[in-house]
Amino acid sequence: MTVDAPALESSQAPLAGMGRKFAPHRVRAVVLQHLLNVWHSPIRLIELFYWPIIQLVLWGFITSYLLSSAVDLPGGVLALLGAVMLWDHTFRMQNELNLVSMFDMWDRNQVNLRASPLTQVEYLCAALILALARSFSGSVVLVVLARWWFDYDLFTIGATLLPALIVLTLFATALGFFIGGFITRFGSNAQILAWSLAALLQPFAAVFYPVSALPGWLQVVARALPVSHVFEALRAVVAETPAPAAGLGIALAEAIILLALAFAFNLWAYRRVRELGLLSSPGY
């Protein structure tokens, strides 16, 4: 240790952005930390593409088989492949949002971050940027491979694809913030939700079959989920019937309401865990 080093500089230069409640440099710092973590971890890079490709291969062959068997599915057989890709984007986005805080928990880095000027809103923004980057890069690979292996072009969905992606991304963000709130509040006990909650919702989301295939009371649940309206619209497009614009509008409104509720829940959970003094307890 340099105990005999020359005198330390006593002047303290002002820090950039002093006192700002939201500072982009703090968001960038969290993003940089996680990008470096991924860069040094080949498993994390492989994982980015591994599960989406497994899903694509499985459903690609199922689709090919159904097409060759001349099976007539409502919404068209090819709708299955589009649904796989869009649901994968939704799940990946939510899962990645939660992995950001879980990696900080596993690395016991939470306390260092939380004892800095970083705010919860900045932390969520950083997680959102990382989740968007990872889910969209995975989706790009899927689109290319689906075209190459199964001659399926996701863009044949046309203009409906954009509002569909917006709703699915908003829904995934809401789900991620909601699960993130549970993980913040209950620690490692709640981490399983990052993998299981989206799977639990999938049967009600009408990803692979129309809402009408569900029993009556489950149809009510399905219609409360914005994603069911999106997949109904996509099936309509593939079946060359007009996409229900009202359904997409309802989906967008539901997604925005869910996002606002999940964001408020996440902030409440962070405040609650500070009231309980649990932040420095490893895994709680």
């Binding site: 950039a16 470096l36 004892a115 800095s116 000027p117």
Partner: protein, 250 residues
Amino acid sequence: MPGTAPRATPAIEVRDLVKRFRDVTAVNGISFSVPAGQVCALLGHNGAGKTTTLQILLGLTLPTSGTCRILGHDIVTDRVAALERTNFSASYTDFPARLSVREMLRVYAMLYAVPDAAAAVEEVIELFDLDALADRQYRTLSSGQATLAGLAKSVINRPRVLFLDEPTAMLDPEHAHDTRIVLRRLATEWGTTVLITSHNMREVERLADRVLFLSNGSLIADEDPEQLTGRYQAADLEEVFIRLAKEARA
């Protein structure tokens, strides 16, 4: 006010601080202030309320009542401003396992908006003699080396207030000695205020200007180490500690 000399804002100011966890009162109405540049030790037996007090001062835990101000900023209502010129190190935290020490310091320099971050990173690497370790991933460091990396992080923003929870607990005697010298220099040359918890009473005697002794959440002593030892007519601070801890349990 005419005729009244302006009073310097204390670096740390705690007033009537209370923290209850259900039926347990961890901190029971403590008040103290620490002026700029002072090295102050927060002592007490296990469960006395030291870590809870530190965590409230760092904004990690919210108080039940009372106020904490860092450099004049309330830690609850003005948390960002309070923590920008503050930093901390504790043995119970780690850093991302796969980042090198240099990368980790770069991330924290960015988080604290350090001007000329590259120079600041090299400065703290030199200060804690981390040159040989700077490009090694954090997960490959020994506990002592990881402690030094954590200490380097804790000064990356040249904090005006530094909180240290058992900073030398994992260090060998040589590194612990050198760390104490660096901490003293931070106080004298940077004017950093240091609030430190430690169970090493010899370390406290060598390092601290002042001792705050907590017992069962209450502040029962507040004076310099020599005065405290003299008041209890004890041979050293360790004897005082043992006596006060036994009294607390009685």
